[in-house]
């Protein structure tokens, strides 16, 4: 996961937050041995001095700009400090800047930059780890959860099944979400979003991302300092179903 996160950070040129929780972070767990990572590292769109010199030629006469999206994914090319090409340097700053990294206070420049970032966000939906979905054509309800709630949900589903309540399951592994989450929620009557925090934060994010489906989402959130239990999840769902 750390390797994927670092690769994504370089590919998307953005910080990637890796979420853990107290249960995973402070207890000793036995896991399968780690497998040797076969994928090469991904440094993303980095230009060497030579690639920068040949950029125009390779991009239909388009001059390189630090924030210029030349291939439609919202991710521009960058150079690293120390690149021996006088065109390579640029000033990274938080205030308004043009596609060529020059200072600007023009509203249309500011807005265009945010539109590009929005496009990058959409690109990210297909690069981050996809959810793991277990469909159930006979079920009327679905469950969404994440992280260390997984074993409790697996057990709760088995218990509910015994009581005649079948369920489908989607384990979210990253944000931003892709279309598979919309498709999953659309397919069932009610979706229980099970999470180990006080406010139902993931349910809130899903409602904001999919406002037309917000009415289907039921937040099951609990935070008492302990991992979620299968019993609590089962009781909460069984009380309604």
């Amino acid at each position: 996961m750390a390797i994927d996160a670092l690769n994504l950070a370089e590919r998307l040129q953005t910080p990637v937050f890796v979420l853990s929780d107290l249960d995973i972070g402070m207890n000793l767990w036995i896991t399968e041995a780690f497998e040797y990572p076969e994928k090469p590292e991904d440094r993303g769109k980095v230009l060497t001095a030579e690639q920068l010199a040949a950029f125009k030629e390779n991009h239909n006469g388009q001059r390189w700009g630090r924030y210029l999206d030349v291939d439609g994914d919202g991710i521009p090319y960058r150079t690293l400090p120390g690149t021996r090409n006088p065109q390579a340097g640029y000033f990274t700053r938080g205030t308004g800047h043009t596609e060529y990294a020059t200072y600007s206070e023009r509203p249309e420049v500011w807005e265009a930059m945010l539109k590009r970032v929005e496009k990058k966000f959409d690109t990210a939906r297909h690069l981050v780890p996809a959810p793991i979905v277990e469909e159930n054509p006979d079920a009327r309800i679905g469950i969404i959860t994440m992280g260390s709630n997984h074993p409790a949900v697996v057990e709760a589903r088995a218990r509910l099944d015994k009581g005649g309540v079948g369920s489908a399951y989607l384990r979210l592994r990253a944000l931003p979400i892709d279309e598979s989450v919309r498709e999953f929620i659309s397919r069932y009557d009610r979706i229980y979003v099970v999470e180990n925090n006080m406010d139902g934060q993931v349910a809130t994010i899903l409602r904001a991302e999919l406002p037309d489906l917000a009415g289907k989402l039921v937040s099951l959130a609990k935070c008492d300092g302990m991992p979620l239990s299968a019993r609590w999840i089962t009781e909460q769902i069984a009380a309604t179903e």
Partner: protein, 349 residues
Amino acid sequence: MTATPTRTPAPKTPKVNSIGLEKNAYKGGESTLCNGCGHDSISSRIINAAWESGLDQTQVVKFSGIGCSSKTPAYFLGMSHAFNSLHGRMPSIATGALVANKTLTGIGVSGDGDTASIGIGGFKHMVRRNVPMVYVVENNGVYGLTKGQFSATSDKGQKLKYAGVNNFMPLDVCLEALAANATFVARSFAGDAKQLEALLKAAFSHKGLAILDVISPCVTFNNHDDSTKSYNWGKEHEIQLHELNFVPSFEQIEIDEYDDEREVQLHDGSWLLLKKLGEDYDPTNKILAYQTLEDARRDQRLLTGIFYIEPETPDFNDLLHTVDTPLALLTQAETRPSREALKHVMEAL
């Protein structure tokens, strides 16, 4: 009598520097600071010092935090990479970048708010680690960008139009640096072009972190005559500890004999010459540096020059034992542990 190196004069005012560039090539964008701002003078001195030192801008990286001072890397060395970081977090960003590529020349520009208030923790730890960089504090004793509040270096009793009277003791950037084991501590005044340029050149040649506290008047919020950060006060009260001269390593050195100079050879072979002006000051004596700074603070004197220097102390990359190739340029074949290495770790668990 001390054997002292003296310089053979360089050819008269060359149009191009040692790497064939004109001075204009070292400029940046147009400044958006107030007319007469001390920070713009410092940018001009950096341009001059970098040009005369023949710095390759593609191998320079500029850093800053937030504040008027931190806008200035946009106004010099336009061909270099630069990163305008979060408020007070320039040292962290710079440390990472200069470990990722230890061959780069780093210039950090910060202000008294960015360094002495929100960034004091990062500042002290960067000093402690001796990260190889020139760290310029453009010190005007006021928060200019937010329209004139007191900063951590404002004098006790100082009056400002909107903020009233400051009741707190100031922090002294040079004393803070010394206490954190700095290897190069100097102070200058934005209005003293000659000295500031000599100090900047010496700072570029220093192996390790060079702290340059530059008193830089804020013409809009803190330039009245009773402010110790004003042009008039600075001009009237500046006392040079020594007259400074810097001889870069690429200029020919001849040894002559003088008894009123003290010389320090820097790691890259350059020489720093300190001509005695009244006091016989030894910039390698740390206790003397503390005493001198404390006396100047108590007596309200703007003492400028090099207070302390340790030319041979290992820098951060030496202490980390990093390989010769910059980490950022290592190939995957060089950085990826073998299949056997992972197997060995797994078996050990």
